[in-house]
Amino acid sequence: MIKLVGVEKTLGGQKVLRGVTLSIPAGKLTTIIGPSGEGKSVLLKHMIGLMKPDRGEVWVGNEEISRLRGEALNTARKRFSMLFQGAALFDSLTVTDNVAFPLREKLHLPEKEVARRVGERLEQVGLAGMGHKYPSELSGGMKKRAGLARALVMEPEIVLFDEPTTGLDPLMAHTIHALISSTQRRFGFTAVMVSHEIPEVFLISDWVAMLKSGRIAAMAPAAEFINTTDPEVREFIGVGAAAQRAG
C-alpha cells in the first residue's frame, strides 16, 4: 500500500533518514519501533506528504505522493488520516468540534449524523461527556485520546498513529490498543503506528519494523520479530544478551 524507496532526509543540518526502504502491506497494522529521536515521526510525515524526501520515492498505492503538489496532493491526502504525536487539536475548537471538523469540512455530513459519529467515537476513547471542553482544559492523555477520536472518525483507507498511547496509564493504553486493533479489523484500513509499547505492540500488530540509524534495521511479522538475529534489535526489544542479564 505504502512504499518507501531509498528515502533520505536532512533536517536542521542533521541527516535523519539515510535511505529508508520500507513496504507497508495493505489492510494490516504495521508498527514502527525505534529509539527516540531516530525519525519515526519524520517517517510518518513523509508517508502523508507533509515532508518531501531529499532523495528517494514515497508511493501510496500507485501514486508517488512525494511528487504531488496542490490539488493532486489534497486528493491523495483524502485517503489518509493521522494522529499526531502532540495530538495537534485545534485550540480554538471544543473537543466535539475538533472531532467533527473533518466530517463537516470534508464530508459535509448533516449535523445529526455528525453528532452521532462524534458521540460514538468520544465514548470509545473514554471521553463521553467531555465534548464541551477546550483542548487547553484537557490532560495530555485526554488530548491524545481526542486526537485519536478525530483520526478514526473519518474511517479512511489509511491511518497513521504517532505514539497513540504515550502518556496514558497502562489500563488506558491497553484500552486504546484494543480500540485501534478492533477498528482496524472492522474497517480493514491500512494502519501504520509508531509506538514505544514493547511488548504490547507485538500482540496487536501484524507487522513490526524497527527504525535505527536512519534505516529500517528489521521488519518481520509481529510473531516472528522476536526471533530476529540482529543483536541491536534484540537488545532494543529486550531479548538481547544485556537485557537478559539485567532481567
Binding site: 507533509l50 489534497n74 491526502r77 493521522m82 502532540g86 495537534a88 485550540d91 469540512e105
Partner: protein, 261 residues
C-alpha cells in the same frame, strides 16, 4: 589588517540583500496564494465574522482611548500655538485635518498591530509549532484559506471602521479641550472643520486605512505562518511582526501621502 575585509563585507552585504529579496518574494507569494484561495469556495463567512470581532470590535477600546487623548493633546497644543497668531478660530480645522489625514489611520493601524497583530502572529505561530497547521493540511483543508484569508479580509474591513471611529472621537476630544476647557469658540470650531475638510482628505484617509489593514494582517500572518519550530522562534516571530508591520505602515504612509497631496 585583514586583507579580505573588503571581500568579506561585500559578501555579507550580498548575503543580507539576497535574504531580504528572498523574504520579500516569499511574502508576496504568500499574499498572492492567500488571495487566490480567498476567491475559491467554500467562503468562510463565519471565520471572517469571528476575525472582525477579534481585530475590530476588541480593538475599539484602545483605539477610542488613543483617539481621545490624541484629540485632546492636539486641542491643547493647537489652541496655544494658534492663539499666538490670533487664529484660535481655526483650531477645529487644524485638529480635524491632522487626524483625518495622518494621525487617525497611522495611530489606529499601530494600535491594531500592537493589540491584534501580535496576537495573530502568536496564534498562528502556536498552531505551526504544535502541528495544528500540518493537521489541517492532512485533512486536505488549505490553511491559507481557512486560517489566513479570513484574517486579511477582517483587517480590510475592521481597520477603516476603527479609523472612522478614531477620527470622530479625536475631533470631539479636541473640542473638549480647545473649547470646553480652554474657552475657544464652539461655533468656529465646527465651521472651520466644515470649511477646511475636503472630500479628498476623507478619501485619502480611507485609502490609507484600507492599505494599513492589509499591511498589518499580511505581515503578522506571514510571520506567524513561518515561525521557526521553537519557543524562541515564536517570540522572535511576534517581535519581528510588530516591528515590521509598524515600520511598513509608516513608510507606506509617507509614499501614499506624497502621492495623494
Amino acid at each position: 589588517m585583514d586583507p579580505f575585509v573588503l571581500t568579506r563585507s561585500l559578501q555579507r552585504i550580498g548575503a543580507v540583500t539576497l535574504f531580504l529579496l528572498g523574504e520579500m518574494g516569499r511574502m508576496v507569494l504568500f499574499l498572492l496564494a492567500t488571495i487566490g484561495w480567498l476567491f475559491r469556495p467554500p467562503f468562510r463567512l463565519f471565520q471572517v465574522f469571528k476575525q472582525v470581532h477579534f481585530v475590530g470590535f476588541k480593538s475599539t477600546f484602545v483605539v477610542v482611548l488613543t483617539a481621545a487623548f490624541t484629540g485632546m493633546v492636539l486641542g491643547l497644543q493647537g489652541y496655544y500655538t494658534l492663539r499666538k497668531y490670533g487664529s484660535e478660530g481655526a483650531l477645529g480645522s487644524a485638529v480635524a485635518l491632522s487626524i483625518i489625514r495622518e494621525l487617525g489611520p497611522v495611530l489606529a493601524a499601530l494600535m491594531v498591530t500592537a493589540r491584534a497583530g501580535s496576537a495573530m502572529t502568536a496564534e498562528i505561530g502556536i498552531m505551526r509549532i504544535t502541528e495544528q497547521i500540518d493537521a489541517m493540511e492532512t485533512m486536505a483543508i488549505n490553511p491559507l484559506q481557512y486560517l489566513i484569508a479570513p484574517k486579511i479580509v477582517a483587517g480590510l474591513i475592521s481597520v477603516p471602521l476603527l479609523v472612522a471611529m478614531f477620527d470622530v472621537v479625536g475631533i470631539v476630544g479636541g473640542y473638549l479641550v480647545g473649547v470646553d476647557l480652554l474657552g475657544g469658540n464652539p461655533g468656529s470650531y465646527w465651521s472651520s472643520i466644515e470649511a477646511a475638510v475636503e472630500w479628498k482628505d476623507v478619501y485619502g484617509g480611507i485609502l490609507k486605512s484600507i492599505s494599513f489593514g492589509l499591511i498589518v494582517t499580511w505581515v503578522c500572518c506571514y510571520k506567524g505562518y513561518f515561525t521557526r519550530m521553537s519557543a524562541e522562534g515564536l517570540g522572535a516571530a511576534t517581535t519581528e511582526a510588530v516591528v515590521l508591520a509598524s515600520v511598513l505602515v509608516l513608510v507606506w504612509d509617507y509614499f501614499l501621502t506624497s502621492v495623494l497631496l
